[in-house]
Each structure stands twice: as structure tokens, then as C-alpha cells.
Symmetry: C2
Subunit: 368 residues, 2 copies
């Protein structure tokens, strides 16, 4: 069949040209007679791909020279552990801002490590509501911040709850660490106020199995030096992420996606496209409050993951059957919250969102 309208929350739709490029050269990369995944990670052929992926990230985000760009493995969840292992020392304390399931999990993993070494991973503020619902981001002025904290951790976008900071916030004066897994490169952000930014690739920039870390070199150097090397950001930085064999094919695909993104006009162009998609989708929700209800406060609504409910679970099921008939997939809400979730990452075509909005209108007329 042809390519489907894929609204998956992650792993998610990738740009077709990035995949076509991979397909065409899968058995013979750059005339070398082998796949890029069969190349040595220490050879010039792979190294050029690796360095191009880093250079594209540096260019797209205007990353300053005193920041390292690293490729790691294990997903954001591994960084939930690696961050406190590096920066949360015995007797120390870290602040967590909790605005959904992922920032909750990051805090829980940090707390486990804190218990092991005798430190603290505090919840500086949580917007958790009744029955575990999250409907908004946190304001810096409501956070109980410890200015001596080793760092403050927050999550820019919550995929499950559909809650996003549309501007990167700042919580006090401690080093700011930020999980951007699900909205990385949705628009240009300034990394200079941030000490460490990280994200799994599998939403906006590639397949699962690659994690991007962007961190101020001086901050990286502060990390513990007595851990196994594989757990130290410093060791990756010193080795240009070639500390051990990196996920070469995943990084190659990230390169393809970033090259596509640049060809689309870069981050300003993709931001306009993303904002337009979100406007179309939320307008379709708000146009029929008798049928659709987004629980998230308007200012915190995610551009990447729009969540909404219908009056009954039976109607939600019918809605998903209807979208499925129209070749739209991945719209079921996360099992922990139910309802509908529309993930509109960079590779999701505006035409798909328009088609979905149109279907929502028809569905509301039929089932109101």
C-alpha cells in the first residue's frame, strides 16, 4: 500500500525522503559496496556521516562552540539515571519540575539514585491534579526552588498528557537540565541558558536507539570522574561519542532527517508548519465542544501532541474506527489516560492534519 497517515506518538512518522535515501543506498553506501551499517565506526566513511549529523545540529540550533553535541544510547530513560549519576553527588540535592508522566518518571529514577548515594531529588513543583491528571505546565514563581541545587530538571513537552511549554522556561539560578525528547527541533530554541538538553530521537529526528545530548562543556566537566566511563558524559565528549560503537545506522538516519529539515527551510519554516497544524487541529476540537474536549489549559496545549476526549468511551472507539477507515493510524490515547491523541511531529504532513480536522467535523455532525 502507499504511505499511511501516521500520527504515532513515538516511534513516529519519519520524512519519506529521509527513508527513501536510506532505502536507495542500503546495500551500497556512497559507492563503497557495503551498507552504512556495515562500516567501521572508526572509518572515514562513517565518520563523515557522524560529523555531518553533529554539524547539522550545530547549524540548525546555532549551538555555541563551548557546547558538546553527543550521541548516546538507551533513550531518555537512560539519561534519567545518567544525569543524577553524573551530577547529583552524595549530600547534594536536585530540583525537579513535574508536569506529566515523563517528568514524574525522571524524578523517580533520580530519587532511586539519590537514595543509593545519600542525596535528594526534590519535587520543586508538580502540577499533578486529581486522579493524576496534568492539565498545565508549571510557573517558575510557584516552584519551591533550592538555589543551591545541583540542577533543576524539567520536561518541555509531555507526550502522554499533551502539555507543553511553548517557550523554554527558566527555574531559578541552578543549572537548567531539560528533556526535549518529544519536541526537540519543533522550533529553534536558545541552548545558552541551559546546561544540558537531551532527548530520544524517535519523535522528531530519527528512529529509536539514539539519544542526543547537548551540554555546556564546563558543566559536563563537573560530572563525577569515578564512575565507569560509559556512564560519564565527559568520556563521550572526549571521544566525539565514539567511546564505544555508537548506533551507526540510527545516527545516519538522524543525519538524513536533519538534512531534510534543513532543506525544508530549517527551524523557522518547520515552526510555522507545526503551529499551523496545531491551530487547525485545536480549532477542530474547540469548534465542537459538544463532542470534543481538550482537558489541557489553552496556554499549555502541546503543538506536538494534542489530546482530547469524546463524551463516551464507546464514541471514542467509534471515532478510532472511523479514522482507521480513512488510513489514519496512531490516534489512540496512551493507555494510562485514554481518549484520543494526535501526534503532529515535524514529519507529519499538514495535509494529514487537515484531513483529520475535516473528518472530526463530519464525525461531530453525524454523532452529536
Amino acid at each position: 500500500m502507499g504511505r499511511i497517515m501516521n500520527f504515532n506518538a513515538g516511534p513516529a512518522a519519519l520524512p519519506t525522503p529521509a527513508l527513501e535515501r536510506a532505502q536507495s543506498e542500503l546495500l551500497d553506501f556512497a559507492g563503497t559496496g557495503m551498507s552504512v551499517m556495515e562500516h567501521s565506526h572508526r572509518g572515514k566513511t562513517y565518520e563523515a556521516v557522524h560529523d555531518e549529523a553533529i554539524a547539522l545540529l550545530r547549524e540548525l540550533l546555532a549551538i555555541p562552540a563551548d557546547y558538546d553535541v553527543l550521541f548516546l544510547q538507551g533513550g531518555a530513560s537512560m539519561e534519567f539515571a545518567r544525569i543524577p549519576m553524573n551530577f547529583l553527588l552524595p549530600g547534594g540535592s536536585a530540583d525537579h519540575v513535574v508536569t506529566g508522566a515523563w517528568s514524574e518518571k525522571a524524578q523517580a529514577e533520580a530519587a532511586a539514585w539519590a537514595n543509593v548515594v545519600g542525596a535528594r531529588a526534590r519535587v520543586a513543583v508538580s502540577t499533578r491534579g486529581p486522579e493524576g491528571a496534568y492539565v498545565r505546565v508549571a510557573r517558575p514563581d510557584e516552584a519551591d526552588l533550592d538555589e543551591k541545587a545541583a540542577y533543576v530538571h524539567f520536561t518541555t513537552n509531555e507526550t502522554i498528557h499533551g502539555v507543553q511549554y511553548r517557550e523554554v522556561p527558566r527555574f531559578g539560578s541552578a543549572p537548567q537540565i531539560c528533556d526535549v525528547s518529544s519536541d526537540f527541533l519543533w522550533k529553534k530554541i536558545d541552548v545558552k541558558p541551559l546546561s544540558l538538553v537531551y532527548g530520544g530521537a524517535q519523535k522528531n529526528i530519527g528512529p529509536s536507539g539514539v539519544t542526543v545530548v547537548i551540554a555546556r562543556r564546563e558543566f559536563v566537566e563537573r560530572g563525577r570522574k569515578d564512575l565507569p566511563h560509559i556512564l560519564q558524559y565527559r568520556a563521550y565528549a572526549q571521544a566525539n561519542s565514539l567511546l564505544n560503537t555508537p548506533p551507526t545506522f540510527g545516527i545516519y538516519l538522524v543525519r538524513n532527517v536533519l538534512d531534510w529539515l534543513k532543506g525544508q527551510g530549517g527551524l523557522d519554516a518547520i515552526e510555522r508548519r507545526n503551529r499551523e497544524k496545531a491551530e487547525v487541529l485545536y480549532a477542530a476540537v474547540d469548534a465542537r465542544p459538544d463532542v470534543y474536549r481538550c482537558p489541557v489549559e489553552p496556554a499549555s496545549r502541546s503543538v506536538m501532541n494534542a489530546v482530547f476526549r469524546l463524551p463516551t468511551e464507546a464514541l471514542e472507539k467509534k471515532f478510532l474506527e472511523e479514522t482507521s477507515k480513512h488510513s489514519m493510524v496512531g490516534l489512540k490515547g496512551h493507555r494510562s489516560v485514554g481518549g484520543i491523541r494526535v501526534s503532529m511531529y515535524n514529519a507529519v504532513e499538514p495535509a494529514w492534519v487537515t484531513a483529520l480536522a475535516s473528518l472530526m467535523k463530519d464525525f461531530a455532525n453525524t454523532h452529536a
Copy 2:
């Protein structure tokens, strides 16, 4: 160009049919209108691939039901840290058998963790010779084993030094943990005497970015329960390796490779093929002791990575130029030891080794 004779040490040659299968369905997997890497890791389509990869491993190795088969990320190097984190408790001790660069590194990483928690990662025996050379595996009777050790760690094949146990050894009565990264599935092994077996995929079974762990469930359950979940084998086991998003495309390729392996006649057939390749290669080395010299003792010579030297570095350079002219790549020895290295993993065709042996004969005649 056509497919080249790829003798890379890892990432390494993959079976062409496994790559062709990936190529043909890269944009439309199983008629779903999307790539396998765009599928949710929680969906039925990906789950079937994931479970098939595990089932194929279980079938090929006859893995008992009380063993878990896990897919992790970070390469064997991550397990160098995760193993002691799970099993080397404060006040405890682990034994390491050191027979090359990789078992050395595993011990060093374990020692770093041991220092953090107040434990010991002992070298029970090392076959390290003058100037850091390793020319043989270790015998159990020469190891200073602590029968109360939390575990004994050894490495079945050393890629850099070309040293291999052709039969899996047993070091005392403590739980046996074994790194099989570079000779996993070269033949059938019995996992029952082993508590935990692990290896990066990028030699014999797939691309980089996937690690396979096979472990006795009862042993996994002994691991520390207070670490961040992402560092606990138990958590992966409980979640069928879907604790967080796994490297789905890498696991899919592992599935393709395992399916190819089964189609080749399974592990008995591949063992015959691997032994034949190694015999041809070492015969070419031994036939011309005036030109080629393998430093490794005959009983410890690796079936996977044959290393040898020529009389001078200039002649080694010439040899590599000559092989390169004949479309053979990846033959340069590791930078730490120099010389020539011929990696003959499962996907390396016997015809390539025969062609190389023939070239070696001609080269010797010309340059003796």
C-alpha cells in the same frame, strides 16, 4: 558498485539477504504503509517482530525456559557497568579472567563501580604478556578463584588479539558471566552452565545499537532492587525488554539475520562453515612462516578474528594496498596492536576467505 568483500571487525558484514529484505520493505512494512521503524513499540506489528527475534534466539540456542532473553542498548561496554551495578554489592567481590583488551576493559569498568560502592573486582588470572600482548586464553587451573565471588567474568573471544576459547570454559563454582560479543552464535553453546551471557549485536547478529542478554531468571532476580529501573536487568525482564522504547529497527534487523541463519541450516551448519573458513585462513598463514606470523598459540586462535604480522610495517602496508585492489576491505589490525586482522564472522562468505588465502599465497611468492 557490487557488494565488497568486507572483513571489518565490527560493525561488520551482514548477510545480503537480511539487508535486501530490509531494503524491500523499508517504506512499507508488512503492508502497513509505514516503515517498521515508524511503528509504535507497543503495537502488534512491531511486537510480532520483537517476539520472533527472541523466539529465533531461543530456538537456535535451545535456551531453557528459565532463562530470559533481553534486548538492551549501549553495547557490551554498557554491560561492563550494568553487571557490577546489579550483582557486585558493597563488601562483595567479583573475579575477572583477563585474556585481551576487552576482558581488561570489562575489569576496569567493574573496578570503577567497585570503588564507588566499596567492593572488589579482582583479576583472578591474566594472560597478559610482555608489552601488553595476549597470545592465549586462560586455564581454569591457573586462576586464583574466590569461590565466594558474586560472579566470574570472562570473554569468549578477543577481537583485537585474536584469542578465543573454542569451548566455553568454566572458572570455578561462582556464577559464570560471559561476554560473547564477537563470537555469539558462531556455533551452538550450552547456556545452562552460565548465569548471564551478553554481547553487542554488531559482529554476528545485527547492526550496532542492540545488545543481547541471556540470563537465568533466578540470577537476574538477585540483582540490586534499589537502582534506577533502567539499570536493573530485572526491570527489562519483567517488561519483555519494552521497559522503554527499544531500538526497534536494530532488533528487526537482528530478526532478519537470525532468520537467515536458521535458513542456512542453523548453528551446526554455520559452525562447519566458520571452521572451514578459519582452516583455510590459518593454513595460508602457516604455509609461509617466512612472510606471515600469527602470534597466537594454535589452541587459542580465534575462528572469528585471525591476526598476523608480516616482517615489516612497510610490507604490511603493501599487503593492505594489494588486498584493497582486490576489493577486500577491513583487514588492518586494531590501532593498538597493528598488523593484519581478518574478521570472519558468520556473514563472511567462504569464497572471500578463499580469495584472500589465494592472494596471500601470491603475495608471499612475490614479496618473500
